[in-house]
Subunit: 322 residues, 2 copies
Amino acid sequence: MKEIIAVDIGGTQLRAALYSDQELKPVKLARMSTQKTPKESGPQEPVERLAQLIESIIPPDNKVDVISVAAPGPVNPYTGVLLEAPNIPGWWDVPLASILEERFQVKTLLGNDANLAALGEWMYGAGRGHKHMIYLTVSTGIGGGIIVDDRLLLGARGLAAEVGHVTVLPEGPVCGCGQRGHLEALASGTAIARWVTEQLARGAESQLSPKQLVTAKMVSTAAQAGDSLCISALAQAGYYLGIAIASLLQTFNATAVIMGGGVARSGALLFEPLMVSLKQHIMNSHYLDDLVITPAAFGDEAGLTGALALGRNYLNQIANSD
Amino acid sequence: MKEIIAVDIGGTQLRAALYSDQELKPVKLARMSTQKTPKESGPQEPVERLAQLIESIIPPDNKVDVISVAAPGPVNPYTGVLLEAPNIPGWWDVPLASILEERFQVKTLLGNDANLAALGEWMYGAGRGHKHMIYLTVSTGIGGGIIVDDRLLLGARGLAAEVGHVTVLPEGPVCGCGQRGHLEALASGTAIARWVTEQLARGAESQLSPKQLVTAKMVSTAAQAGDSLCISALAQAGYYLGIAIASLLQTFNATAVIMGGGVARSGALLFEPLMVSLKQHIMNSHYLDDLVITPAAFGDEAGLTGALALGRNYLNQIANSD
């Protein structure tokens, strides 16, 4: 029996789950806010909190085969170093895998959460059976993960698959990374909300008020209710997603595009313009033969499921190389 | 001793070479125009001409271990079918590998010429030692090939790495494929020559005359001589190449970008604006750490060397699986 502890480091919440054998449902699950809340005493450091969380679900016999951690932002999966964690102040160049390995004496793996979500979809979700798969998660930002020949694409230092930062409009709006015209600056939830806010400020008609703080979710809801400004906002995001997906399909000749994240739940108002744009930008229709474009199977549990997939994949490889 | 026949199908010329052992210099080399010239009698069909060319270099003992063919345009490397050969009328869905296998009773491999050029650069040229490598060839069109984890990226049907058709300017000029704003429509030799021609027609000052048929080579030469219109043309191509390369680096986290093709020989007037644009569009400088951007080692012989690499790679795999 193989025991895996999967961990998902979120900006607001840390989650850890103990999985046994081939089950997708955890035997134990624990969560904790990433930062100390004002009422709490005790450990200040996210690393210490994470270790305590893991400790709380370690089985009585102490037997764990691998700990697998999904972290936001760039990580080096080869060295287990977390390079930067957005929303967690002070986490720079943290050798997280080594710290946890030393503490628990268990092999520890680290991966970028969007990369691992891709691996999770490929092993257990909407990407099963696809040797070549593209995963995009569209929420506050845009991340992704790519499967090439049944393997997760990592690149030289594990920084591959940053699909949110593909340029889709030179000289376009400023992206979270500081550059201009990236997909994330045009099609993320943040970009959608910002565009609507700008249009409202210019007097555009909408059921949303220029006085409220607009979120992507509000835009999506208003669009479903027929609000034409919000419909345009989703159509524009779909247009740029279509451009990026056309470029990715020509680059990878994948058979599946899996769309995760909150914005991807906007349905036809996002996907129809996306498909029109994809067909408009793809060099020929062979890339669309047998292509599946589908919502992700996993939502909030994408990070944990991805970390589980990484752990299982590792144990399988070890078993096969014996 | 292993004997490989490598073949390069060009739009104007067919070339076949016999290679022995680990040598990069062919033992025999033969060439023929792809189409029958007006003076010739004999076989009409490019396939028949190709077979005759191969026949002319088969060694006396008849022993060849593998035939490996580089073809322009899309091919299916898994089935050995040439889907379309630009510039060779009537070549559609030709099961070229089967035809040659049957005729010569020798295992025959088929690959896209730009993909194979990438493999050649990785095995023998400017990409040696790079596990993750991006190759672009910028000439009349723009093609490419990508090495991921020491393997050629092919995708589900072998249509991967069409880097010339990445969208870099939505609603931009029309590409050879019929869509708009692709890299090839903005940075290929054809695009460079077209842009200069348009500017000349509008009365732009240049040492080139609006009455002559402008080629990319003429633009490059005039730019080296200080012609400001032609310098702008190369700078613009460099700008869009920089955008595409930034997107590719973030996608693959490669450590080498190899630039082949005639346009890539334009030197600093192309590469300097390319680097400025790359830095302007890349999300962070980690992607540029240890990055090598360099001209390709092979020029006209890229196709043959690539086909050789494919053949040797295949023989090595067979040897390793024994």
